[in-house]
Symmetry: C2
Amino acid sequence: MKIKKEVTIYDLAKELNYSPSTISRALNNHKSISKKTIKLIKDAAQEMGYRPNNLAAGLRNNKSNTIGVLISRINRPFMASLISGIEETARKEGYNVLISQSNDKYENEVSNCNALYDSRITGLIVSLSMETVDTAHFQKFVEQGIPIVFVDRVPENFNSYKVVIDNYTAGYTATKHLIEQGCTRIAHFAGAQHRNIYEERKKGYLDALRDSGLPILEELVVHFKTLSFEEGTKATKKLLKLDAPPDGIFSANDTAAVSAVMCAKKMGVEVPDQLAVIGFNDDPIASIMQPSLSTVSHPASKMGAISARRILNHSGHNYDSDLTEITVLGTEIIQRDSSMKKTKAPTV
Amino acid sequence: MKIKKEVTIYDLAKELNYSPSTISRALNNHKSISKKTIKLIKDAAQEMGYRPNNLAAGLRNNKSNTIGVLISRINRPFMASLISGIEETARKEGYNVLISQSNDKYENEVSNCNALYDSRITGLIVSLSMETVDTAHFQKFVEQGIPIVFVDRVPENFNSYKVVIDNYTAGYTATKHLIEQGCTRIAHFAGAQHRNIYEERKKGYLDALRDSGLPILEELVVHFKTLSFEEGTKATKKLLKLDAPPDGIFSANDTAAVSAVMCAKKMGVEVPDQLAVIGFNDDPIASIMQPSLSTVSHPASKMGAISARRILNHSGHNYDSDLTEITVLGTEIIQRDSSMKKTKAPTV
DNA sequence: TAAATTTACGCAATCGATTCCGTTATTTAT
DNA sequence: ATAAATAACGGAATCGATTGCGTAAATTTA
């Protein structure tokens, strides 16, 4: 198989009797090239099948019009939507998107981070792995003036762009919602507390209880490692076997919430009347399962779009690594069957 | 903010009194460099914080150690898993993954295709958009000897690598399963018939009916445009209002199948006893919903891994554009509640 | 009409890694 | 001991696009 030779600006230059400089400038609409010449060159480029070599341009400019994305896992509804939002926004501006997943391992995060760095990405969008505590591997980007946007699972001690939701308020409101449904013994499925999003959700939960004059029952606060289905099932079983089982659960994600609903049903506990459940994320499953799952909706795609926009708008800015710019998005409580009691117990 | 200067092989050369050639060779374990020198250089590189510039290497070699992925949408369970499989495999070999989504628009597919081409990807993995009929935009890759792997939604008239599942057998077996459950009036939710996967699934469905001596009822075969939830609801309503409604549905995807189950429940039709339903894909939702959805499982992540492997193994091969190499993966019927009738009707 | 701009373009260096040819030492074969 | 082979490395061109600086011609200004 013969490889067809690529057309370069030098070929165009020779063909049209212009210098490569002029060709390059014309293709980039440089103002010092006359409009006629630009048209002439662009038409010829089109006809000769010229295609720019991004690698060459990238080498010269030391950047690649590429946004790097570093997340835990792609096949999670939230992450997939996030990437989708990033990709759409980036591509409109002619940027490519490089993805890599850490599978929630710190080690992978570091090596992927380095690989993205070597690819001279224009900017990096990160949602931290579950394990990550140290963030030194991101420092080299700062030193190169490459913008970093942390999304959702963000570090606390790192100045950069951040795009998050108001986890505290979401946790508070979700818990309040259960209280309004008449729950008095509300359990919480808490995520790893070194990830601030989970910490905030828990704080919101605790404050909602306090503000409503409800006691905080230590045995009803379950700390999860990964908020998986299995963990959720186990926790739910244990809770429901208590002498005084909970009458409501606020789970920090939908996966665990779903497991709680299903486990309760299996154990003959009525959802929502004996146990009201609200999750977090509004995974597709939430609206389909029976009973449908109340949850907190998370504007994933929008967060992706905003993150990408941050990177795109950054170029040219001088990077102030002492500054943190946070974008906080609102969430929405989606009230579905799993939390809407038919018979409300009297409020305390 | 001062930008820290990057360390290049020239810096290393100066520092160690070697030529850039030697540095380059040492870092690539070239055999004509002594082991001692290699170790010396690598240690120094490590210490000085050297990081290779992929753009420069890519320019020189005219490739970028990057696999391009072109799919319809990222936030679909199947696609997300596919990408996940690609990414994992690629990264282990030091390859990056560029993603782009067509949103099922032909126009987007073409422009994304060109963008990936310009980025000098090592290989391309594609799942065609719903609209795509013409595949001329992929031709330039062939001309450059860049391997293309079509996955799942593949073209018929294009020689290259293909990774698919046996859609015919899957459709046949799924339909057979319904027949074994006693269904005699089985409807089919068919996808766009110019996408071969949907054509094959339908063929399997038709042949299963024939082989079982069941009549093919035209009014029970519904052709969808996108197999969306809304389309599914509409189709189900219409079917159930027929004088002789179906007692089973084989849907070409889970989304439409789910909508059928829910619609039936709303209309007071018992699933599975009055209407058995089986979907396709084994989306996460299938196992969670009630009744849980029978479906055909699709090894998405594995397909991604195999596709990536095809690209990685291709390098060096001479590309025979007259050859098509197809990898066919098996599927599995997952029998869940939505199709397991308690009371089997007598078989015809 | 001479001087000052402006317009439109060319020259050549540059980005960093790779690789085809050499060129010395050093070892092996005869 | 001398020719032949091998090991270990250097020189310099190359990939394709970009851009600071320079220049000739065209236009405007005084």
